[in-house]
Amino acid sequence: MIHHINVSTVLRKTVCDLYSNLVTRPTGVAVRKAIEESLAEGPQPRVTIIDFTQVNLLDFSCADEVVGKLLDAHRREEREPHTYFLIRGVHDGHLEAIEAVLERYDLAVIVEDTQGNIRLVGTLDDDARRAWYVVSRRERVMPEEVARELGEPWGTALRVLDDLSSRRLVVRLDDGYVSLPKAI
């Protein structure tokens, strides 16, 4: 199940219907809580799309609340199945604030910019980043394909893929792995 959250709509409903900028920490807290309530209602979504398309400005404090704290809380959850997040409608101004908070929390996330390009942002080591690119180019990959492309042993590729899966950056399907945008 995919849950689509339009952050601008949440902002207007929870804080003020005149605002188009996601600024100040109290605003971020209100928006995050509204998103968490929305996620708690109904069946647990498999993938949640946080859509910033109509958000003009995102400052560091709001990025910390709406992206950092939200993703950090879900990363800590042990329950299965995992909830995956994709951040959509991101422009360079948003990205600066998002990258800063991801670094603080040692998080990574997949973002889709305003042109529809997919990027992996946040803190991730080189092997994991390279493996993610291999997965993102294919429909579904097995660890041995990733091992071949990276020039690493099978065990190393498997460990890196499992790590990407536990960080909710790829989806494990049986013995293979699928990139999140392709799984949607």
Binding site: L18, V23, T24, R25, D59, D64, G93, E96, A97, A100
Partner: protein, 296 residues
């Protein structure tokens, strides 16, 4: 008895120290007259810091504004008198209020900041005008405008989150002949709140070193991104401001208590840290972004 405090002819972040030096030996409830009659020019910092000073006096201070019509009229257009009349006992001529400023160099007239909604309003108000002036006149990248608004939001939030009292923000552009010979856009955010040292002291379990003072508190907050909150997401605001200022060869200065710290660009010769300054409650922040020289 009233002590006269003379405001220098040109009032900015550096010359404002002369005002504070005159005030330093006086008890806080000593009646003072802030004499700005001969002041000809004031930066956004000078005007917002004057309002802040008015908040700090135990006995209401008196203020005599500039005598020259041009200067007084300009102070009126920035919104200064609207708030000065609430804080000071006004002496001499006070220009009549006029409709909101349409001046191109005032991006944001003096605006009170006390709560989160005020920050929203500041950011909403500045965006259209900032885009026009920063891109077309200061040759900054369009993306710089967005980051400029982010920076403004973060420095205003410092008042809401830490000062425990209201403050003011003002944004203007002007030609900075003295050091640069180029136009600059300047953000000034001043409050008379608890300041950085007391804010950080309020952090639970924080161990203070023997040399703990205003200067060290500023170093912790501005350079090391320390916040009174233990939350890992805190302290990013000023770090973001520092990055923005660095990217656009700007200058950041933060004064609090008896110290002042500055991120100094190559075009300026300010010192990075000043200690043992005359005291002023709260925090006073100035951000200066210079016009970008377009290579032909």
């Amino acid at each position: 008895m009233t002590t006269v405090i003379t405001v220098p002819p040109s009032l900015d972040d550096q010359t404002f120290e002369q005002v504070l030096e005159q005030l330093a030996p006086l008890p806080v409830d000593q009646k003072v007259l802030i004499d700005a009659r001969h002041t000809r020019w004031a930066s956004p910092y000078g005007l917002t810091a004057l309002l802040t000073l008015g908040q700090t006096r135990g006995t209401q201070a008196a203020l005599a504004g500039p005598e020259t019509e041009e200067t007084a009229s300009y102070w009126q257009r920035t919104g200064f008198y609207r708030y000065a009349e609430e804080l000071f006992e006004m002496h001499g001529h006070v220009p009549r209020p006029r409709p909101a400023s349409a001046e191109s160099n005032v991006l944001l007239d003096i605006t009170p900041v006390a709560k989160s909604d005020d920050v929203h309003e500041v950011v909403e108000r500045i965006q259209a005008k900032a885009q026009l002036i920063l891109v077309n006149e200061l040759n900054l990248d369009p993306m710089a405008t967005m980051r400029f608004a982010m920076t403004l939001s973060e420095v205003c939030q410092n008042i809401v989150e830490h000062a425990q009292t209201g403050g003011w923000v003002a944004v203007q552009t002007y030609r900075y002949r003295q050091r640069l010979g180029r136009r600059v856009v300047v953000i000034a955010v001043c409050d008379a709140g608890i300041g950085f040292r007391r804010s950080l002291e309020s952090a639970q379990g924080r161990k203070l070193s023997d040399r703990w003072d205003d200067a060290m508190a500023l170093e912790d907050a501005v350079i090391r991104g320390v916040s009174r909150f233990r939350d890992p997401g805190r302290g990013q605001g000023l770090a973001g401001v520092r990055r923005y200022v660095g990217r656009w060869e700007g200058k950041l200065s933060v004064r609090s208590g008896t110290a002042r710290i500055a991120i100094v660009p190559s075009w300026d010769d300010d010192v990075p840290l000043r200690e043992h300054l005359p005291p002023l409650a709260g925090s006073q922040v100035q951000i200066t972004i210079p016009e970008r020289v377009v290579q032909k």
